[in-house]
């Protein structure tokens, strides 16, 4: 039998009886260091204080509380446990329904209640053996070095090729993190040819999606759903591809299917709400957003966007009919939550107030609506952060409806300046206005930017820089152009860029410092920022 005397254990369960009986089983196995927690929240706090070697986590910790899967996600994403820690999910009935939601982060093992001391000892011993076998891989994972993970996998497969299948997932993740996409595709395709698993399909589908190969990605997911029709994660992937292809109706249908299988998923409910809202299914949108808001209370994926989305859906559902008392109470509750919990976020403060004003107007209280709009506009003047495209369009539309047309137009102009190089954004803007001073503002700058990109790719860096500079002088807050200019400057500056060049870089980045974290260029912005400002 293994020696557990030096090992630390954490038992997480909301039932005292269960904690006591598990603790006494562990004591009989020679364990001395046992802590207990009665909720996921407490477990997270304890793991932040102390490194545990073993965690026995009950899955269902009561309604409205974090469940075991959420605790595991938080522990891993916040790096509160090492990959060497043995994490066992304890379940009341079979783990099937949990497996459904655990395509990304899996526990080391499931243990079904009731279990006895021998059963527990047997699982622990085997898991320790496996962790020992995989130790070099797990340590490389803790260091966050995918290249070392690959090397460790190769070493293990050489030592004992019979255990190679245990490395498959580590290797796939490492290839993905190293951006070795061609190798990854070959690797995943080979696995699918012999032993298909849901995660392999999901990884291949998302790879194709990332590369813009939407047709192939769709094919992968459809094939996957034939083999594994009850895996919600695969519906999520397919829905994302369909959105990219512009087929929002079918995407919504896919997410409805996924939600039916596994309703406890904040991000899925929020995504469904957004699609339903776009598809003008306001009943469906309110329902999904309502779930996203209530489940969000205990989740790291809580988002104010769901609160705002819910209010929008409720208003649209009752368009032309005012708002009944119950709906108004709901709107008040979810909006005041946004205002209270995001005091530092100027954008959300403005949006929550305007949303409230719009709802008051719909309910027939024009006077208060006007006052609130006034307040929101004062905050808007002082705001230096950029709205995301969706947020800007909503704010502009609401301002117009609340009688502030010129403020709305200036929001649209700002949006076009920041994002106008993207034709999809221009299409969306064109849906809310036909004002030529808004729609025509970007053409020249966008042309220059495009020529600049061509020159840059052709290696004519100085020519490219000139184009970018001209474009930026026309549209100084355009994210793409500013980032392109900064990148060209750094490339020209080489190893030891001059001070004036660095200053120009800093100016470029400062202009677009309002970039929302949700923007898909945010990573690129952060990387340039680190190079230019050193942090």
């Amino acid at each position: 039998m293994l020696q557990y005397g030096q090992k630390s254990f954490l038992i997480v369960d909301d039932f005292t009886d269960f904690r006591t009986s598990t603790r006494s089983m562990l004591r009989e196995l020679g364990v001395r260091d046992v802590d207990t927690a009665d909720s996921g929240e407490q477990a997270l706090r304890m793991c932040a204080q102390k490194r545990y070697d073993f965690i026995l986590q009950d899955f269902h910790l009561g309604d409205g509380k974090k469940n075991g899967q959420q605790v595991l996600e938080d522990l891993l994403l916040d790096k509160l446990i090492s990959h060497e820690c043995v994490f066992i999910m304890v379940t009341a009935e079979s783990s099937q329904s949990i497996v459904l939601s655990a395509i990304e982060h899996e526990p080391d093992a499931y243990l079904t209640k009731p279990f006895n001391r021998l059963g527990l000892a047997q699982r622990l011993e085997k898991l320790v053996q496996r962790k020992t076998l995989l130790k070099p891989i797990l340590q490389a994972l803790d260091r966050g070095r995918p290249a070392e993970v690959l090397a460790a996998c190769a070493e293990l497969c050489k030592q004992d090729p019979r255990f190679a299948p245990l490395c498959l997932r580590y290797r796939a993740d490492a290839l993905r993190d190293l951006n070795r996409f061609d190798d990854l595709e070959k690797f995943l395709t080979n696995i699918l040819a012999s032993r298909p698993q849901p995660w392999v399909y999901a990884a291949l589908g998302s790879l194709m999606h990332k590369r813009g190969q939407y047709e192939q990605a769709q094919g992968v997911y459809e094939q996957a759903l034939k083999a594994f029709p009850i895996m919600p994660g695969l519906y999520d992937g397919l829905a994302e591809v369909l959105v990219a292809k512009g087929d929002n109706k079918r995407a919504q249908h896919m997410l409805e299917e996924a939600v039916r299988l596994s309703p406890l998923a904040v991000r899925r409910q929020a995504a469904l709400g957004k699609l339903a809202l776009d598809n003008e299914d306001y009943e469906g949108a309110s329902k999904a957003y309502r779930h996203a808001v209530s489940q969000g209370q205990s989740s790291r994926y809580k988002s104010a966007e769901s609160n705002l989305g819910l209010v929008q859906a409720l208003m649209n559902k009752n368009a032309g009919n005012g708002l009944d008392a119950r709906t108004r109470v709901e709107i008040n509750t979810v909006l005041s939550e946004v205002a209270k919990e995001n005091t530092e976020d100027q954008g959300l403060q403005v949006r929550a107030r305007l949303m409230k004003a719009a709802s008051l107007q719909q309910a027939g209280d024009a006077e208060t609506a006007a006052k609130l709009t006034e307040q929101a506009m004062q905050r808007l003047d002082k705001m230096d952060q950029f709205f995301s495209v969706d947020a800007a369009l909503t704010v502009a539309r609401q301002l117009k409806e609340l009688g502030q047309e010129s403020a709305g137009t200036s929001i649209l102009k700002g949006c076009v300046e920041t994002y106008g190089d993207d034709p999809k954004v221009m299409q969306s803007v064109a849906k809310v206005t036909d004002d030529p001073s808004v729609l025509g503002a970007v053409t020249e700058a966008v042309d220059l930017n495009r020529q600049g990109v061509r020159s840059y790719q052709g290696g004519q860096l100085n020519e490219a820089l000139e184009m970018f500079r001209k474009a930026l002088s026309l549209q100084p807050k355009n994210i793409s152009i500013a980032l392109n200019t900064a990148q060209a400057l750094l490339r020209i500056g080489g190893e030891s860029p001059s001070e004036s060049l660095m200053q120009e870089c800093r100016n470029c980045l400062n202009r677009v410092a309002g970039i929302p974290a949700s923007d898909n260029r945010f990573d690129r912005y952060r990387k340039l920022h680190v190079r230019v400002f050193g942090a």
């Binding site: 009986s21 009341a92 009935e93 209640k113 009731p114 059963g119 047997q122 085997k126």
Partner: protein
Amino acid sequence: MSRDEQGLDFSTVIASTVHDMKNSLSALIQAHDQWLARLPEQSRSGSEQGVMEHEFRHLNGMLVQLLGLYKLGINQLPICPDYHELEDFVEAQLAAQQEVIRHRDVLATWRIDTESPLGFFDRELVASVVANVLTNAIRYAGHTLLISVEEEGEQLVISVNDDGAGYPQRMIERQQDYVQGIDQQSGSTGLGLYFAARIAALHERNGVRGRIEIANGGALGGGLFRLYLP
């Protein structure tokens, strides 16, 4: 309003009740174990104890099966196959039944005779089948039972063999009927075979589906249950 709309969906009612029953039973089993641990040595054994242990496992197995059948019925029993260490899997199945095995004084052994230490299957689903078969085998075994794992061509075969009187001849002859769910009068054993066959068939590779087989004989001469996984 029609009668249908007013009535409850009975299968959903059963499923959610079974779910609660299973929780209840878990608490009962765990409390019972703790209570036993406090008793003096001589009061811990005895045939009543054996009956309790056995019936606990039996009840638990039936409830798991019932939930599984419900999910199969509404087409919501997902399969998520992965690589599992065979030794670990078999040991865990025996460990879960340890109390019953001890009380019945059955010698339970296992043998793994495969090239790879890993098998590819849905651990949870296959475990629920093996648990039910084991409960039966322990009940009917004389002194010994054997779990063996081997390869037959491309397939993995998990067998449970005992030294009891074996399956009734009629059951062996009619096993296809049970598997297809044709004979619904056969009680829990028949239902168990149906469930096992459905689980086996969820495992598929290149058009080949898993299956089950019952016979008498094997190394120990009694009942022999075999689960084929492609």
